[in-house]
Symmetry: C2
Subunit: 430 residues, 2 copies
């Protein structure tokens, strides 16, 4: 017997889900309208946390990695959705250059790039992989296992710029597909390209520019509007957020702001927990206002923990991906993860990750961690992945079946993920 | 062991296919451009004939039946493609009314309507089935087996018109999805609807208006342009066509026109067979210039057969679906079907039918007939259906594999079907 998933919803959230499933035509109609107004990102992934009484996105990534974790049965739908993305962003493209992160030794990431290469080739594009980074170019090629289990190598080409256009191997690709979030700043090469060469996602999607506080502000407005369609409380799907700038964990700067906001957020949560009679200990997550990969993220259960951080914790919170100094902090309501996966008698905390291409939910998987608690970040070393069976779900909810059917649950996950991606679409547009 | 398919390509056509597969990026780019210019039909199905040395569409249906034959593994892609069709044709739709053919006793057709209902429900639409025909409304409900094997009933509602809008059950559906080709004329109810109610496909798609001669003229132009991308001979994928009007088989009117054109078409075929050293007997198919369902279709091997038709043959050619008198005739190069399916030691002639929704190939099946020859119409009583394994094909050709791989063959079938659907898009637009 394979791993077993326990993903429950309860109380008001379960009623909300039931409404959403019953009124699917309202949901889909609303999303069609919204995505007609706000161009969906080329691709995205959304990390969710399901606390049974509440579900929330906690990270919306516009440079998703992990396409190697998309199940075999989801590949055809994914290819079809990439066709839509190309149609929407760059219909005249014949050639595409994938620009990956500078992960020279992360073989899982190479695996992802290989699968992304394969998916786009199946769309009918000529695909190359190239980088502006010396260290990545020195790899010369990356290796990955395709779905048939064969090991394939893809050359890594050097990206160069001439007269306002990017070239690899003397050729000028029609589309530059960024899988690099340029956390430490957007390299000059990629700025202000000639208009006959298209960049996707646009540079405004980079973590050098995006702020989580802005994303979650737009998400809370989006969630409010959506919940309003069903007279539901948007708190059920939306976390409380605050922001502190000019923080230095190393120099103990800005601690008062953090403590004040942590206190406020905890009080808001307590009020909501009282309203819904939730017998849980509230917690807050503080994280760098830009960046991903689960770096610079910390769980806070009491405000005064802020004053008592040890050196290791301070150091960890000070630097983000690529050594970027963290000064801007998001204080976010913590959402427990009560989803667990039981595999070989080991119970692990699970976090669903939903993948979108264009406005289509194409698949997903669970990030699981056997050594983390229900209120801890799972995006850390030791995490494992476990595919979500999206193939018979998502676009095919068993509408007549009971609300706890796994198919309906995954449809609801897809709805929450689309709300997050829609918020990212608004964010990048503005 | 299940049924085995033999689907070969040979000679120049095989070289053409190899080119198409190698230059997929050119193919897909061209189709993206074309379908941006010509709005793809909401849905369509294309009957193909594969003679090994030549492959051609022989019928392009804009009111496809047979969605019940779409394989389970193709359903998710089909739902996603319907989402695109709705986005393109009627983004604001929440409710859709399916208007079926007036087939009161054809349980296969009811099965199809049931599956179409299910697919559109999964898109997130509120779906009803209704008719303006008394006999169909008297059914009150139709029954079908869903993919889980449960028998489901769907009510059949009466369509009525008030003040320029159609209503069922007192409600006004946003989208009227026609699955009735209105062969015998477009009912007044459906004409000039208020603009807030959308009809798909448009009334110009009806067999009361469409002419096969026009479709195949546009197809031959489309095929010429496409073959030109590869310096290939478009005859390899396009049949020779002629037309005779004012024909009456019953009154032996217009026979000279038929004989002259049959002779000319046979001569053109002979020239081509000589050029490609094809050792086959050429034949011609004469068919009503409008209409479908394989009615009023006949194989002619010698021009003077026209003069010697017996009464039964004359009667069969005189009347089309719904008793429409046939006076307009298409004389089309016959394409042998050298595809066969062997099942339990019985070898049957097979004709692939490819299904499209929007511009996406979503699936297909083989129409097989154990009692028909290689040069005969298979769309007759006694035919059977056998699903094509599109799930691992079509959008996922095994690009590195050999040209005879079934995956590549089906991709090529999808290309030919898209050429036919693109021609229908041009036809309806003009």
């Amino acid at each position: 017997m394979g791993p077993q998933l326990k993903a429950n919803l309860c109380g008001e959230l379960r009623n909300f889900e039931t409404e959403v499933i019953e009124k699917r035509s309202v949901v889909e109609h609303w999303f069609r309208d919204m995505f007609a107004k706000y161009k969906p990102p080329f691709y995205s992934s959304v990390d969710l946390r399901n606390a049974c009484f509440k579900i929330s996105p906690v990270d919306t990534n516009l440079f998703p990695a992990g396409f190697n974790n998309i199940g075999k049965d989801d590949r055809r739908t994914t290819v079809q959705a990439f066709m839509n993305a190309i149609e929407r962003h760059c219909p005249h493209a014949e050639t595409v250059l994938i620009v990956p992160e500078n992960h020279t030794r992360n073989l899982y990431y190479h695996q992802h790039i290989g699968h992304l290469h394969g998916l786009l080739s199946n769309v009918g594009l000529k695909v190359t992989v190239g980088s502006h980074e010396d260290s990545f170019c020195q790899l010369k090629e990356i290796f990955f296992k395709n779905i048939e289990g064969q090991t394939i190598s893809i050359p890594v080409l050097r990206v160069s710029r001439h007269d306002g256009s990017l070239y690899v191997d003397g050729k000028k690709p029609d589309l530059i597909l960024l899988n690099n979030d340029f956390s430490s700043g957007i390299p000059a090469e990629y700025r202000e390209l000639n208009s006959d060469q298209k960049l996707a996602p646009c540079l405004e999607s980079s973590w050098a520019i995006r702020k989580k506080s802005r994303h979650f502000k737009l998400y809370s407005e989006t969630a409010k509007e959506f919940a309003g369609l069903f007279d539901a409380d948007d708190w059920l799907i939306s976390p409380v957020n605050r922001r502190c700038t000019n923080v230095s964990f190393k120099e103990k700067k800005g601690e008062e702001c953090l403590v004040r906001n942590v206190t406020e957020v905890l009080n808001e949560i307590k009020k909501k927990y009282a309203e819904y009679k939730i017998q849980r200990n509230p917690f807050v997550v503080i994280k760098a206002n830009s960046g991903t990969y689960g770096m610079s993220v910390m769980t806070i259960r009491q405000p005064n923990e802020i004053y008592n951080l040890n050196n290791k914790q301070r150091k960890r919170m000070s630097k983000n991906k690529e050594g970027v100094t963290v000064e801007d902090i998001l204080i976010q309501e913590g959402v427990h993860s009560f989803e667990t996966v039981i595999d070989y008698n080991v119970q692990s905390v699970a976090e669903p990750v939903v993948y979108l291409v264009d406005n289509h939910v194409v698949g997903g998987f669970y990030r699981i961690h056997a050594k983390k608690g229900l209120d801890e970040n799972l995006n850390t070393p030791g995490m494992q992945f476990f595919p979500i069976a999206f193939e018979d779900s998502c676009q095919l909810p068993a509408s007549s079946a009971d609300p706890d059917s796994i198919t309906n649950r995954l449809y609801f996950y897809g709805v929450i993920a689309r709300l997050a991606t829609l918020s990212a679409a608004k964010e990048v547009r503005e």
